[in-house]
């Protein structure tokens, strides 16, 4: 018989039946760090770069405080070199057939398969997250992501024929991110043919390792470049030509600052902000399962942030009792221990949670903490806060990890009001066994993802995004692909940044207008006023502006709109929006077709106005005719919206809903006074939005002409047209906090201002950067891009089973 090893502790454990440590060996992670002499630089163009004279940031084990490695912080010229490498790689990478890119992504997935333990131990070692979640959750998902996007690349020429890759994508990640945040964005970008420069915090080696794995495979090593450095390098990143898109995920305030600092720089900005989630527990729910949902949402290392928990009054006691019982059984400890539920997120996350809890306590909240937690600093116990009065500042603030703030509600209606009453719109779950109630809540919650009787499910085929201040960028599914594509044949936008633009004074005052000479109008004038709330109203300023025709003569007077008129128009639009949003596609289509018919009847008047603006008869006729066609086209397309992605491992559908944005503000270009107006209006209405429009500044009369028909056809307030000084009206719209999206087609400076001002409520904006658009062309005037921008996606998960 073999020699025996004596175990003294078994006796003791036999009587206590306690859990023991399940240590995960991280020798391979340390060995990998040793091959780099514990000094990590940047991975650029397929090579490790360790430039000299750079600031070094040392990174400690979040639990033991032991020094793990030193990271070199990038400087502007390192960023430049990385962007240059990505640009060079883009030239060949984007030209490859999709099938070749697909093969490459598949090979990368296989490569990851060979280094699983290295990946999960490295990630857990540095982030402190529970290795179980990384090993069983993140890594398999990373492989699925690569496979899903390989398939998308394979069928790209067929499925996305009208699109082309944007160019170099800059990816900026915050200090508290998991490498999955990177995978969700890198995979679609590479799949469609973009190349990536990722700026990661100098405390995460996993992205560097991934870049190394990718670089070793590819004949184009520059497709994925990773730099360690602070977020403050973002403006330097976009200042290099070729960077067409910047993607950021992180804290809301950082996102806001980034939005402001990138205004006018020419790169599109995709923001995914905040980490708070929401859980709605109704009285018909399976409470025990909902409690597990809360654990998934806040007290596991699956979740990124804290949770707002709404519990129906009648099950409050039962739910809180179960929650508290469950909290007592949670185990926290070193992430590399396979038996812990919660690791640590480092000192910063600890202090943030501590600060929030103290404040909540001082504002009247009751704090309950439990769980098997080591007492030393980086660990924070699972925390449940209740009894916080709605007026407390903590009520509105974002809930940090691992805190759950519970509120009672009486009816589903009240729950909706509470849930939608925050500036955040990320993810939410609804727990109810009543189908009707669950769907009602699922549809009406303002959030990017809603799970019914589940929380935190993810799949590469299902888009994840948000609304309101959670940002409007998407990852996963088709929406994730469009983030890195632009319509085929449209040139990349040149930068339109103007150093001297004064944000405080842009469009602040309206230049006063002098009374001009007498009107000489042949055709009957449209009614005078602003078209607001379904009728023509006198402007608040009680003044007018003269409109000249192409030969410099006075064509007519239009009302001079101002801040108060914009306010009124937005209010009117908000009143009309809910009714329009729930209209059936058929009735939306019939309204658009009725408008088309009305426009057609008005052809002679419209043509003669266009002629006075200098258009030739033939061109004028064509413009009117095309406008009519556009209305019909979007009317017909209303039906084709949303679809159901197939999800592996889930029984039941996931609905990809296309929901209206709400109130959409549109500033029309000066050129194509009728066609551009109609081309922008039609998709907005077709997708269920209420609209506030500023028509062509130089020739608003055509739009007002159309308003006469809208007065009789559209519900009051659905379309509001405010004429006046474009810069001034743009300022009012861009700074308005209750407008859900803004499209701007004007000057370069106006575009820059709109981007800067949108940081206020983080509304998605679409600007032309001062360049002209071919409104008469199919792609730019009526392409799928308009439809994509006119609605937002919501993923509604409906697991089934009995």
């Amino acid at each position: 018989m073999a020699a025996t090893r004596v175990e003294p502790r078994a006796r003791e454990i036999f009587s206590t039946l306690e859990y023991g440590p399940v240590p995960e060996s991280h020798a391979c992670a340390l060995a990998w760090l040793d091959t780099h002499d514990r000094l990590l630089g940047h991975y650029v163009n397929g090579k490790w770069q360790k430039p000299e004279h750079r600031n070094a940031a040392s990174c400690q084990d979040p639990v033991t405080g032991e020094n793990l490695a030193t990271f070199l912080q990038a400087q502007e010229k390192d960023v430049g070199a990385a962007v240059q490498a990505a640009r060079t790689a883009f030239e060949s990478w984007s030209q490859l057939p999709g099938t070749t890119r697909a093969q490459y992504l598949t090979r990368l997935a296989k490569m990851i398969q060979k280094h699983l333990r290295l990946l999960w131990t490295l990630e857990s070692l540095f982030t402190g997250r529970a290795v179980r979640e990384i090993r069983d959750g993140d890594i398999p998902l990373a492989q699925q992501l690569l496979q899903y996007h390989a398939i998308q690349a394979h069928i790209q020429e067929e499925a996305l024929a009208d699109w082309e890759p944007m160019g170099v994508v800059g990816l900026i990640l915050p200090p508290t991110f998991s490498f999955m945040d990177m995978m969700w964005r890198v995979c679609p970008a590479l799949a469609v043919g973009c190349t990536v420069v990722a700026l990661v915090p100098p405390s995460s080696p996993t992205p560097l390792l991934l870049a190394q794995l990718a670089g070793e495979l590819s004949p184009f090593p520059g497709i994925l470049n990773v730099l360690s450095g602070p977020t403050s390098l973002a403006p330097a990143l976009v200042s290099w030509p070729g960077v067409q898109k910047v993607v950021f995920c992180g804290a809301v305030e950082e996102g806001r600052a980034l939005r402001r600092s990138l205004a006018g720089k020419g790169a599109t900005l995709g923001l995914a902000l905040g980490t708070e989630s929401l859980l709605l527990l109704t009285d018909s729910a399976d409470v025990d399962s909902a409690v597990e949902g809360v654990v998934d949402a806040a007290w596991s290392d699956r979740s990124p942030g804290g949770l707002r928990l709404l519990i129906q009054e009648s099950v409050w006691d039962e739910a809180v009792r179960r929650l508290q019982g469950r909290m007592g059984r949670l185990r926290s400890g070193r992430g590399l221990d396979g038996a812990v539920d919660m690791g640590t997120r480092g000192a910063a996350a600890h202090d943030l949670a501590q600060c929030y809890v103290r404040e909540a306590q001082s504002q009247g909240g009751e704090v309950f903490q439990a769980g098997d937690i080591p007492s030393n600093n980086p660990f924070f116990p699972p925390t449940l806060i209740s009894g916080l009065p709605p007026a407390a500042p903590c009520f509105q603030a974002e809930v940090p990890w691992p805190v759950v703030v519970a509120f009672p509600f009486r009816t589903a209606k009240e729950a909706l009001a509470l849930a939608n009453g925050t500036p955040r719109g990320g993810s939410a779950s609804v727990w109810s066994e009543r189908l009707g109630q669950a769907l009602e809540l699922g549809y009406r919650l303002l959030a990017g993802t809603v799970w019914i009787n589940a929380h935190g499910l993810q799949d590469p085929a299902v888009p994840i995004g948000g609304c309101k201040e959670s940002g409007s960028s998407w990852h996963g599914g088709p929406d994730g692909l469009y983030e890195y594509l632009r319509p085929l044949g449209t040139p990349p936008q040149p930068p339109y940044f103007c150093e001297s633009l004064n944000y405080d004074t842009f469009g602040l005052a309206v230049p006063s207008t002098l009374p001009a000479e007498l009107e000489i109008g042949s055709s009957p004038e449209p009614p005078y006023g602003l078209f607001v709330g379904g009728r023509f109203q006198a402007p608040g300023a009680r003044s007018s502006r003269p409109i000249q025709d192409s030969s410099g003569n006075l064509h007519g007077y239009v009302a001079e709109g101002g801040a108060k008129d914009i306010r009124g128009a937005v209010e009117a639009a908000h009143q009309a929006a809910p009714g329009w949003a729930v209209q059936s596609p058929a009735s939306r289509a019939s309204l658009l077709w009725a408008l088309a018919a009305a426009l057609e009847r008005r052809t002679p008047a419209l043509v003669s106005r266009l002629e006075r603006q200098g258009a030739e008869l033939k061109a004028a006729r064509a413009e009117v005719e095309l406008s009519v066609r556009r209305l019909r086209k979007w009317g017909a397309q209303v039906q084709a919206q949303g679809h159901t992605p197939q999800v592996a491992g889930l029984k039941g559908p996931v609905l990809r809903l296309r929901e209206p944005l709400g109130v959409l503000a549109i500033v029309c270009p000066n050129e194509w006074p009728l066609l551009a107006f109609v081309s922008l209006l039609a998709p907005a209405l077709a997708h269920g939005n209420a609209v506030v429009l500023v028509p062509s500044e130089t020739c608003p009369l055509l739009a007002l002409e159309v308003c006469q028909d809208m007065a009789s056809l559209c519900p009051a307030g659905l379309v509001n047209v405010v004429t006046g000084d474009r810069d001034h009206l743009t300022r009012c719209l861009a700074l308005h906090q209750d407008i859900q999206a803004l499209w701007y087609f004007g000057s370069a400076q106006g575009s820059q201002f709109v981007e800067w001002a949108s940081a206020g409520n983080l509304k998605p904006v679409w600007v032309n950067g001062g360049s002209l658009r071919a409104w008469d062309q199919q792609t730019e005037g009526a392409g799928p891009e308009l439809g994509l921008r006119a609605a937002r996606t919501k993923a509604l998960w409906v697991p089934m089973g009995d």
Binding site: M1, A2, A3, T4, R5, V6, E7, P8, R9, A10, R11, E12, I13, F14, L17, E18, Y19, G20, P21, V22, P23, R132, D136, S284, A285, D286, D288, S289, A290, E292, G293, R321, R329, G338, A339, W431, E433, N453, A454, K651, G652, P799, M800, G801, D802
Partner: protein, 292 residues
């Protein structure tokens, strides 16, 4: 304990309100399974504990006195003495919780156990007052089912009543929850998943629902009802999952042979193999360990 549940009138509104969300329970079951709760010394101690929960079972048509005798000997000495010594556990009196045989073999078992000089209980279908209820509540209603179980309860006097739920035939997890409640309200001391002889037996989702019902019943009445999964539990790893499931859902108080049993036949030999490996650092050959 006999009189307690009998006195309380059935609370049928509780039963009708009960809701179990099947997909969510399945996800929970997956999570529980994916965990490797214990390793090394902890694993060995947990496995030895698991031995004390086992109802060592043989329910084959060809059982004879000789293999029942062997089974009883194994129940008395479930783990090789030298392995227990190595773990310093030889004086803990580790035996299985009970022996389960067909009624016809009860005499053999009692005789064998007496010969071995131990008091391990013998369980069997009729002799110990087991009863099979109508497994289908759909046709007869929960109230009727409760009455039926109550009659078994009365007939068994002071004996302990264990109610087997034919969980595979109940149709839905909500019904499993309701049936568990009905069985407990009618005075069962133990509730048990369907046996290894049925097509669907001890699955984790079913167990989660039954354990939650036991906890809810305890919260409401203060009575602790026992739980016995049976069928399909064959490996040491399975046993660890079941232990940690009970620990998670009900707490340590339920981890005693009075409240938790595992019905199994081949589980014990796998546990012994794991203990062998833990002690010696080697994997055992079949002939290294005595058969049951």
């Amino acid at each position: 304990s006999l009189c307690r549940a009998l006195l309380s009138p059935p609370d049928l509104s509780w039963i009708s309100r009960a809701q179990v969300n099947q997909p969510a329970v399945l996800r929970r079951a997956e999570q529980v399974q994916a965990r490797q709760a214990v390793k090394k010394a902890w694993q060995a101690a947990w496995l030895l504990k698991a031995v004390t929960f086992i109802d060592l079972t043989t329910l084959s048509g060809d059982d004879t006195s000789s293999n029942v005798q062997r089974l009883c000997y194994k129940a008395k000495y479930p783990i090789r003495e030298d392995l227990l010594k190595a773990l310093n556990m030889h004086d803990k009196g580790i035996t299985t919780a009970a022996v389960c045989v067909y009624p016809a073999r009860v005499c053999d078992a009692v005789k064998a156990l007496k010969a071995a000089g131990c008091d391990i209980p013998v369980a069997s279908g009729e002799t110990r007052g087991y009863g099979r209820c109508h497994p289908n509540p759909h046709g007869i209603g929960w109230e009727h089912l409760q009455k039926e179980i109550r009659q078994f309860r009365k007939a068994s006097g002071d004996a302990r009543v264990k109610t087997i739920l034919a969980t595979g035939e109940l149709g839905s997890l909500t019904n499993v929850y309701k049936a568990s409640l009905v069985a407990m309200m009618a005075g069962s001391d133990f509730i048990k998943t369907s046996t290894g002889k049925e097509t669907v037996n001890a699955t984790l989702p079913v167990a989660i629902v039954m354990l939650r019902a036991i906890r809810d019943f305890f919260w409401k009445t203060g009575t602790k009802v026992g739980f016995k999964p049976a069928g399909g539990i064959r490996t040491a790893k399975d046993a660890l999952v079941w232990l940690s499931l009970v620990k998670e859902e009900l707490g340590d108080e339920w981890l005693t042979p009075e409240l938790f049993r595992i019905g199994a036949s081949s589980l014990l030999s796998d546990i012994e193999r794991q203990i062998y490996h833990h002690v010696t650092g080697r994997y055992a050959a079949y002939h290294d360990l005595p058969m049951s």
